[in-house]
């Protein structure tokens, strides 16, 4: 598929060392600037000559954007913190293990060493028609190549598709939604904080983007409130191979129980729609109920209400139903086998 074609086309590489400098550059260049975090999503675009930015802004030298800090309200994770660091951080493993688990399941060890939390939540979709440079809706055209009778759409959306049927590929996104994380975005006008679930947008809002980030915006940090520290967590990712692959679907849940009763709960899935979905209807339906097989089954059935399969992805409906069910009752943890 991928073909080696010499080095990438030339671009201007700017390497700021502070957020303020990065901000200035993004302001100055606007839509011409390509923000480079770990680079693993970016280099595919650049190497394949599908996107040709004239200016690349490499954030790897901005130390302010790295690291995990404990604050009065919980944790603050710099956007340029690597997935390996998150997966291995003692405090995250102890109190917010949902995030550590999701980070550990991303791609491969080398990619986790390089890939960042900011990049993981901001990466573009993997729909291959789009990534191969076909002039689809998402690329500014007026057709979807995946949603045709012969389109290859095994990995595509079953919910909330609107012209475009691509899905968000992030593993950490549903975990952050379940943990009620806040995303800190800076631009020339100042700083704004958005809820994790509002950071992502579907095609009904903007068909060319997966997040609210506009040119000039910089995601600087992810804040995790202490609200869900030490709750009962469940994360599961389903993919074709145990390494590298993006999720066919994943699920994340955080739950606070009192005895057997579900007091508080948040559930999110990704790989089902163009944005990671927080399942509010499911949460409302099971709050205050017994944590039982019956409740879990009801949750699973409710989660897939309104799902519309494409030609090759009908399997995603029972998959989502079962993942949501498991996220309520849990299953014996599958062990990693080589």
């Amino acid at each position: 598929m991928a073909v080696i074609r010499d080095v990438m086309p030339a671009f201007q590489l700017l390497q700021p060392t502070s957020i303020a400098d990065a901000q200035k550059i993004l302001d100055q260049y606007g839509p011409d600037a390509w923000v480079l975090a770990g680079g693993l999503d970016s280099f595919d675009w650049l190497k394949d000559r599908i996107k040709k930015p004239n200016t690349v802004v490499d954030l790897s030298g901005v130390e302010e954007l790295k690291g995990i800090r404990e604050t009065g309200q919980g944790l603050e994770i710099g956007a340029m913190t690597t997935l390996t660091e998150i997966a291995q951080h003692p405090l995250i493993k102890a109190k917010y293990s949902l995030l550590a688990q999701s980070a550990e399941l991303v791609a491969s060890p080398q990619i986790r060493n390089q890939g960042t939390i900011g990049g993981n939540v901001s990466q573009d979709t993997r729909c291959w028609y789009y990534r191969a440079g076909w002039p689809c809706y998402r690329a500014g055209g007026n057709i979807c190549y995946a949603d045709t009778p012969v389109g290859r759409n095994r990995e595509h959306a079953i919910l909330h598709a609107e012209r475009c049927v691509a899905v968000n590929p992030s593993d950490t996104a549903p975990a952050l939604i379940a943990l009620d994380a806040k995303f800190v975005i800076r631009n020339r006008k100042g700083e704004r904080v958005v809820n994790a679930e509002d950071y992502f947008v579907g095609p009904e809002i903007d068909i060319t983007r997966l997040t609210v980030l506009q040119p000039g915006d910089l995601l600087t940090a992810v804040r995790i409130p202490a609200t869900w520290a030490g709750a009962q967590f469940y994360f599961e990712k389903v993919r074709d191979r145990n390494v590298w692959d993006f999720p066919l679907m994943n699920v994340a849940s955080a739950m606070v129980l009192s005895g057997d009763t579900i007091q508080q709960v948040r559930v999110a899935v990704n790989g089902a729609a163009a944005r990671p979905l927080r399942l509010k209807a499911v949460e409302n339906a099971i709050r205050g109920k017994q944590r039982s097989i019956a409740t879990a089954e009801m949750a699973g059935n409710l989660a897939v209400q309104g799902a519309v399969p494409l030609q090759f992805n009908a399997y995603k409906i029972p998959l989502m139903r079962n993942l949501v069910k498991r996220s309520i009752t849990g299953v014996q943890e599958a062990t990693w086998a080589s």
Partner: protein, 214 residues
């Protein structure tokens, strides 16, 4: 002057002028391309920010040596290592962070060299397969493990695999076979020789522990 002489001198003059002309073309060609380069650079300089554009001629710390090398901005580390520094032990398999054969250590951490811009490792230490053995040629314990257990078939993936294993064993010196498999799961072997590779690296890990005790 006779007619013949005149002809000879005319031909000579033509010859000279042709040579001069060709020389001229070469010189002006260089001039044109360099001016366009300078012009381009100055256009960019006009818009440049405080962060600056930086130098193309940089110093890299590779295998313990300071290497001066001319690197374009969009160049990947794998490209620089192989085609500028002649370190062809680092292999390019997919060039898309999907196979692991270009794995090198940057400050002791395994990275895919095909997906790292050389300009981002200016202040870091790069270690490739060529820098693993000691200067006198004594193999690294992991390399010795590979030799003793005959760990690979075609071995195209070996340099990347060995670097991934060395990086993993630095932080996990005493792994189980399953932990090691997970640690080097970012590398593919087209010969499907994983079992022997794991055996070789388990042996290498044992040698490493032994040599660190000694």
């Amino acid at each position: 002057m006779s007619e013949a002489d005149k002809q000879v001198s005319e031909t000579a003059a033509k010859r000279v002028s042709r040579r001069a002309f060709i020389k001229g073309v070469i010189t002006s060609g260089v001039a044109v391309s360099s001016t366009s380069y300078l012009f381009r650079a100055s256009t960019l300089a006009g818009q440049r920010s405080s962060a600056g554009l930086g130098e193309r001629l940089i110093t890299l710390n590779v295998n313990g040596q300071q290497r001066r090398v001319d690197v374009v901005k969009q160049e990947t580390l794998a490209w620089t290592l192989r085609y500028k520094l002649g370190l062809t032990g680092t292999k390019l398999g997919c060039d898309r962070a999907e196979c692991g054969s270009c794995t090198v250590l940057i400050d002791d951490v395994p990275y895919y060299a095909c997906s790292v811009l050389t300009h981002t490792v200016r202040d870091k230490k790069v270690l490739t397969i060529e820098g693993l053995a000691s200067p006198h040629g004594k193999l690294h314990p992991v390399q010795q493990g590979v030799v003793d257990e005959q760990g690979f078939q075609c071995a195209y993936c070996m340099p990347g695999f060995v670097m991934a294993a060395v990086g993993f064993l630095k932080t996990n010196p005493n792994p189980t076979r399953a932990e090691l498999a997970h640690g080097i799961s970012g590398n593919l072997c087209r010969c499907q020789d994983y079992d022997k590779i794991l055996t070789a690296f388990m042996r290498g890990a044992e040698y490493m522990r032994r040599s660190s005790r000694a």
